[in-house]
């Protein structure tokens, strides 16, 4: 099984006529995703990569039964786009858009939560389940079907790591890029139970970063509720405190959110912690081997 997406996933792309919207619609299609609709106000009746475009998400849902949205609209309009998706009955919204103010994201998160819609992102690469569906922008080439569930706060680092897992011949059930912003729709703690419950996922890879306490929260959760082996890597051990490292989230402030605190919390929860990305595939192979011998 896969997590969050399956063969019934029908995607509407909000902002499909923009450059990224169009490029990634094509990539999602090549992956095998059922991209059933696009939305760009004022462009109803046109097509992008063979996908019909609608003025409104509600129209797209009515016409195509779309249940999942991939949002590419620019930051100033992202909140509106998400509200529209929720009100149209979309159950899963992958928000690729970056630079959304966290105050907007607070409203987006709590509204979606209240209405039962799950958000992945913002500022995220999205979800990929090899052989099933991809919603977002993770490069198609990195995937290979297999027993590993990947949860990551990073973008390209995820590609690098998933790619390494695939090249090692292991492969993934599903990979979720959560996004690195201060407020995310789905956190490690929200994503872990999905993989814990998925029978095909035999091991979970967790890719974290400095900043915040999401990894510490994850360690608490793993200790209490996760029985599958977990391998983790935390980027930014060498980053100096007080400097914001690219992501709005990635900053060590006032001694909080250091790589050390995250690594030691994870280790204490029984997680194998890689010091560098290239150590991950080996650790995964080891833990899978050990688990299968039990």
């Amino acid at each position: 099984m896969t997590v969050l997406v399956d063969r019934d996933t029908k995607v509407v792309v909000q902002g499909i006529t923009g450059h990224q919207g169009t490029v990634h619609t094509r990539q999602m299609q090549r992956f095998g995703t059922r991209v059933v609709a696009g939305v760009t106000p004022g462009k109803a009746g046109t097509q992008v990569e063979g996908v019909p475009v609608y003025d409104a998400v509600a129209d797209a849902v009515r016409a195509t039964g779309a249940n999942t949205s991939c949002i590419f609209v620019p930051a100033p309009f992202a909140r509106d786009a998400l509200f529209e998706a929720v009100d149209a009955g979309i159950r899963l919204a992958v928000v690729v858009t970056e630079h959304i103010p966290f105050h907007d994201m607070l409203s987006m998160y709590h509204y979606a939560l209240a209405r039962g819609t799950r958000i992945i992102g913002p500022n995220c690469p999205g979800i990929g389940a090899p052989g099933v569906a991809k919603v977002g922008i993770i490069p198609n080439v990195v995937f290979r079907p297999g027993p590993v569930g990947v949860i990551s706060r990073s973008g390209t680092l995820t590609y690098e790591i998933v790619s390494g897992i695939s090249e090692k011949g292991l492969g993934e059930t599903t990979c979720i890029g959560l996004g690195g912003d201060p407020v995310v729709g789905t956190s490690f703690v929200d994503a872990l139970p999905l993989f814990e419950a998925d029978p095909d996922t035999k091991l979970i890879v967790l890719v974290g970063e400095i900043g915040g306490t999401a990894e510490e929260d994850a360690a608490d959760y793993i200790r209490a509720y996760v029985h599958k082996p977990v391998v983790a890597y935390i980027a930014g051990a060498s980053a100096p405190p007080g400097k914001r490292m690219g992501h709005a989230g990635a900053i060590v402030l006032r001694g909080r959110g250091t790589a050390e605190s995250k690594q030691s919390a994870l280790r204490a929860a029984g997680v194998s912690v890689a010091r560098f990305p290239y150590e991950i595939p080996e650790l995964v192979a080891d833990r899978l081997r050990a688990a299968s011998h039990r």
Binding site: E98, I138, S152, S154, G155, G180, D217, G236, R244, M245
Partner: protein, 378 residues
Amino acid sequence: MVKLAEWRGKEIYRRYGIPLPRGTVVRSPDEAAEAVRTKTVPLPCVAKAQVLAGGRGKGGAVRFATTADELRSTVADLLALEFKGEKVREVLVEERLSIEQEFYVAITLDRSRRLPVLIASRQGGVEIESVEESAIDRQWVHPFTGLSGYHRRQVARTLGLDGAPARALAGILDGLWRAFVAEDAELVEINPLARVGESLVALDAKVIIEDDATFRHPQYAAIPDDRTPLEEVAREKGIAFVQLDGNIGVIANGAGLTMATLDVLKEYGGAPGVFLDLGGTDDPKKVTEAFLLMAEARPAAVFLNIFGGVTRCDTVAEGLVAALASVPSDRRFPLVARIRGNNEAEGIALLRQAGIASIPDLREAGRAVVAAASGGRR
């Protein structure tokens, strides 16, 4: 993260009805003397250097004056100061109040709970980090319901206030909440919030505005921050660029990959000097700009580590080749490249034509950069 100087923070607080000491910001001793003459600032007064670094009190950046002449010379001293690397351009001159108690109140974001958190302590005037947990009261405020009466009452209890000061506190907390939301702040802090008789006064103001929200608040985009000049240029070009202490330049795409690259370099004994995150782009010109910016930072060697997703490998290669052609000869640097992902083959081919090999293994590439940097250390 736009950190505002105290006087700018206070300008915001004033708009939200938060009581402040009487005073004004000055940029010269003459302006200070004029402020006394016009009674904008009553004597005795306090003169505070407007720098972003903390520890101003102990560091001599806050001084007192009892006459106009004394204030004039104090302001002159402060304007000549360089405080923790920051030049002092403004001095805030304010009445000196007779303070009975100092409290702490602030609102910021709790990422784990995804809720704003209202923080209060009876122990103000010191860094909140130094206050023990049991003396700090935290209440979470839901964005859909906002600050309510019970939040205000709880803070009043924490601070031990009732009657008129509790009513004043309620108004201040409302103002703080409205400022936090309407100004898209990451932090609004009053430390200390001083009790002066039956009133409360915000003696200091610390406001941090969220970068991503400057589309709604263009006035904050232009405010100087504690960035280096090169960081400032990079910011204008929309490139994440951070100067560190070492001599190796890292150009990667994505914060995670860039940080992971730094981690690897450090493991092999390298010292990263510039963190440059290309982000997601498929414009070769942006890549060229990034390389020219990197050249300005005069790195001993540069590591280009790209995983093509939104960014395509051939785009990066194209931009890189164009950049190398236009880097002045005194700015050239050894380059180690590693490009993978979308259009990898095309990118590698383009680089090969320009005489650059891509090293696919991250360990090997890292070692090569560190070697190049120590060989070419200036």
